[in-house]
Subunit: 471 residues, 2 copies
Amino acid sequence: VESYKELSPSEFFYRNRELAGFTNPSRSLYTAVRELFENAMDACELHGIPPDILIILREIQKISNEVSIYRLYIRDNGSGIPEEHILGALGKMLYSSKYILRQSRGTFGLGGTMALLYGQITTNQPIKVVSATLRSRKVHQYTFSIDIRNNRADVKDFKRFRNKERWHGTIIDFMLEGNYSRVRTKIVEYLKYTATIAPYAEITFIDPEGRFFYFKRTTTKLPKPPKETKPHPHGIDIEILKKMLYESDEDMTLLEFLTNKFHRVGNRIAKKFLAYARIPGEMTIKELLRTSDRKLIERLYRALQNYDGFLAPSANILSPIGKEAFKEGIIKEFEPKYVDVVVRPSSSYKGHPFIVEAAVAYGGKIPGGPGEIVLFRYANKIPLLYDEGSDVSKKILSNLSWSSYRRPMDGPTAFFIHICSTKVPFKSVGKEFIADIPEVEKEIELAVRELLRGLTRYTRQVQKKKEAVKR
Amino acid sequence: VESYKELSPSEFFYRNRELAGFTNPSRSLYTAVRELFENAMDACELHGIPPDILIILREIQKISNEVSIYRLYIRDNGSGIPEEHILGALGKMLYSSKYILRQSRGTFGLGGTMALLYGQITTNQPIKVVSATLRSRKVHQYTFSIDIRNNRADVKDFKRFRNKERWHGTIIDFMLEGNYSRVRTKIVEYLKYTATIAPYAEITFIDPEGRFFYFKRTTTKLPKPPKETKPHPHGIDIEILKKMLYESDEDMTLLEFLTNKFHRVGNRIAKKFLAYARIPGEMTIKELLRTSDRKLIERLYRALQNYDGFLAPSANILSPIGKEAFKEGIIKEFEPKYVDVVVRPSSSYKGHPFIVEAAVAYGGKIPGGPGEIVLFRYANKIPLLYDEGSDVSKKILSNLSWSSYRRPMDGPTAFFIHICSTKVPFKSVGKEFIADIPEVEKEIELAVRELLRGLTRYTRQVQKKKEAVKR
Ligand SMILES: Nc1ncnc2c1ncn2[C@@H]1O[C@H](COP(=O)(O)OP(=O)(O)OP(=O)(O)O)[C@@H](O)[C@H]1O
Ligand SMILES: Nc1ncnc2c1ncn2[C@@H]1O[C@H](COP(=O)(O)OP(=O)(O)OP(=O)(O)O)[C@@H](O)[C@H]1O
Ligand SMILES: [Mg+2]
Ligand SMILES: [Mg+2]
């Protein structure tokens, strides 16, 4: 006889934490640093603050040959977390400020909480969070554990300080098991690849071996922050439609509903759509919801799905790296002989706008062997360092007809591919690889081919000069 | 200013349903059929019932060129769902009878509910579930919708019938959007690959085009069902340890705790362990939990982690396909000229026992071109048909030194790889590909190499015969 059980979200993700990147001690250490660092970057960039982030990782106790207990301290100068939301944001799974339609690194409402939970289950130590919001007169400090069964924080201590220096930001301080020697390279690469595309960020990392990694900002100019947007008619399903209808003023007409609640639907398009759907624009939401025609909402939904006269989602709500910034970042970090950047026109999938930015670089400090193709992947400005074999960008590079193009063979060639969107099609909550969505695949391939044409021209010019020199 | 929100598990998986395989209409249709079919197979096999499963998929309404609304009806003769658990099992996310330490297809408590939810959000239609448990006098029928916000079922209708024929099993009947033409081949392959390793199952599939696919059983003999087991000392963390301590009788001694609550820990090993850990075996759990030595539980945990004198997890609780059954199934479905099966000795990772069973076949109806390597993957008896590029088995095949072996080049060679475990290391909740855990990778590679040695001998024999014939 089967015995049934219900799990809370924290119990579920705790049991299945390998889905979120918490597999072995070295990978878990990497994922913890990554998730907390991404929270810090979001807290700064989404609010127009040039990021100042300090990460200190100290070895506290050896457990075995390679595994130790570490203390991870991370501080940012971001927007902070309001006092009433601290315990939710970092003590509860599925509690987030990123559940809106806006580009950000965070998306699932899991990462930071998972890192802290991993620390707790491997060390039995409480977690300390200190935070002050912009212009706040107080600094709040919570010491807590996570009650996994009930998905909530269990407060051990709380302090409130006067915010004399008008500091704003967040400090997270906790212990976790890890294996630093096996993942040191990855952690430093992660920070370096972030610095490559975020030259406005100042990042300091002090590692357990006492090494000091400092990525100095080269500009205070931030790219424009992303904006929240409304759903696109092709980005909804019946449940979302019903929710939008129920949350609107019931005296609102369908025409008003379409023009107010959807992304880029103006009067003219709304009227054309209503004619196509054969639904009267003056009908109110109240009438729609109480109609005896049970199929009316479904007809409205099918029509929204099928009508092809809507404007494509606009990309001006996105926050790409930018052609110049991308180029300068690659030049600063890798000092290549040749670099080229392509920014594809914006596109969309399932109502979500996205932009592909890609770069190719050769020479200088590009890592790799002669003729090797090296791939650097980014999604919503997050460097993706694992699971390359499962990623759509790798698949595209592997399937290209390389014989149609030329590249220098005395050193490696690096490709940098960045996708930004209101929803990056990650294949797992660990956010390390991207699904092959046809629209996204198409844009990546077009970008890479354009870069390869430029690289072919460059390679031929270099070849000609060499032959000229020989003669 | 950030706006914070908490999502219920159903809201989270609904928003991120592509993580669970609900991406586009064709893939979603496949995943829905797969998830419900796997529930049916578990309900039969876990209770020693030879499965009789009927699947009817009917097209109800065309929406566009390729996308239609379908009605999916699936019936099994399994153990049924007790009346008080029907709405939880299929109306709530994270409600499951598979959250125990036992091999089964189900593992996350999501799949069936997600399929029904996908149907609801694409058609706005309620779901019907009919079920009767073994020897039950009543048959219960619920018609419900899923309240996504609150993660619970919203009952529309309930009926209770007298179970005159003493039927047992479950019927699920609901509508969903899909694209059958694009995924027909995959659905039929999925059922065929299941039949290959489950010759005791009788499967009937009637598709929207009126085609009748019938996989007749060739035996009523089931493999022994898997058993539930206790945690292994290397399969726990501090939270699990604390939970096990709190749930035990507090007057129990630590010696009794070790021998009663852990997998394969007898008196002798427990005493040796306690000596290693320098913890007195007569100490009671009450004393351990109230000790002023705050570090004692952590010391116990570290010692459990590091002590290497524990017996490896036993595989007799697993339910592999079996060497003979695997061979017979491949012969029946593919009629190959050559087939060989290897069953690796059981191994374990992180305290979870696992067995790798692998087969190679050539000739007959093996699909593919000359010299092509075809891979059929299975995990806990589930055929994995997508995301091969991300799977550990594919990676191993790709990295083999093929030049060291011989295989016939006039047709394809198929490899079948099955991994069964109390916890299959799936990389995503969509259960289509497996992570590269070192212990698992090693066993797969050893199995494949052994198969390749056999195939090499066979290929040379065939070559010799051909040359003899020529002379
Ligand atoms: N350093 C920080 N500064 C400000 N707010 C933060 C910080 N760290 C976390 N938060 C808040 O806590 C919330 C939850 O963080 P968490 O990392 O668990 O999830 P997320 O970032 O929303 O999504 P994801 O799982 O994709 O990371 C965030 O949405 C954010 O509002
Ligand atoms: N056909 C069935 N017969 C008997 N029990 C069933 C059936 N379908 C579902 N159940 C019960 O409902 C529970 C939930 O099913 P669901 O598919 O949502 O999750 P799961 O099978 O436990 O895990 P997974 O997400 O990995 O499939 C199962 O654990 C099982 O107890
Ligand atoms: Mg986060
Ligand atoms: Mg299931």
